[in-house]
């Protein structure tokens, strides 16, 4: 009996590690920007190039910052969820139109609806780099002090919204 204990122990250990491994998402890399002030920028707006958008204007508000593009397939997937959220008015969504052509971005929103209060137009992708964007769509929850409290990589599903994002938003709004 004793001679089976060691292999059994090794097997159990391995099984535990593999089980944990199943649940890991290596494509989601924790952002070093978490709990740090959101990088400052000022960009022209997508719809009105004369107007600018700067996160500093949103001091005192809890808001979502959603990185999207017309070429991004997963953005279509999460789009109805964002539209739904915008209708409830629970938290304002601002967009970062990332590495897109202006007319493509505008047309995309015309076609599918515009959940954003405003979208910043980051044609060069410079702001995207400052925010550590590597897989569009990405969504940041930013608090009243302008600090990034949460980052979600990939499309927002209804489950992600209700289980992950909205609880944080509600907590931040107090």
């Amino acid at each position: 009996m004793g001679r089976f204990l060691v292999p059994l122990g090794v097997f159990v250990l391995l099984a535990v590690f593999l089980y944990i491994g199943l649940k890991l998402k290596p494509s989601e890399i924790p952002s070093p920007l978490l709990d740090k002030p959101a990088p400052v920028f000022s960009l022209p707006q997508l719809h009105e190039p004369d107007k600018t958008f700067a996160p500093a204007e949103l001091r005192g508000h809890v808001w979502l910052f959603n990185v999207w593009a017309s070429w991004c397939v997963s953005c279509r997937q999460e789009h109805p969820v964002l539209m739904q959220l915008a209708r409830t008015g629970e938290v304002p969504i601002y967009g970062l139109n990332y590495k897109d052509a202006r007319e493509d971005g505008v047309r995309w929103l015309q076609q599918f609806g515009n959940p954003y209060v405003a979208s910043a137009y980051d044609h060069a992708g410079q702001v995207g780099i400052d925010y550590g964007v590597y897989g569009v769509p990405e969504t940041y929850v930013i608090d009243r002090e302008g600090v990034i409290r949460h980052k979600h990589i990939g499309p927002i599903t209804p489950e992600v919204l209700t289980d992950e994002i909205l609880p944080i938003v509600r907590k931040l709004k107090g």
Binding site: P26, P30, P32, Y131, G132, Y134
Partner: protein, 158 residues
Amino acid sequence: MKRLILVWLLLVSGTLACVAKEAAPVMGDAVMQERVMKLSGELRCLVCQGQSLADSHSDFAIDMRNKIMALMNQGMSDQEVKEFLVDRYGEFILYKPPFSGVTTLVWLGPLVLFVLGAGVLFFNLKRRRKTVTEASLSPEELTRVHSLLNKESGDKHA
């Protein structure tokens, strides 16, 4: 004749000047290109995580290489460029993890396992040798061994 030589000299010097003028920036780019590629080799492509930024053809890797070149053109050292990217993307972007904190486990883990395995092997071998030398035969067993050995050698000779 003199005039011909003069014209010829003028032409040659002209082309030489052209070559010299064009070669310089190309040389500079090549050096920069090499610097970018060398540093990209030490950074991870976050989209295709098994590849470095130098190996990957993804849009992300191309953007990052352009950004690295832009930062270098601003006069940043390799170390400063790395820090710039780590600040935004996290330590995971370093293809070779730094020797600090949790990553110590990654660096020393194999060594610890090796020493542990070697220790177990050494201990087991030593124990086995002991049991082998200590085993003695009873007189009956000994005669049996002898008879078997004799029989075998007899068979061989036959």
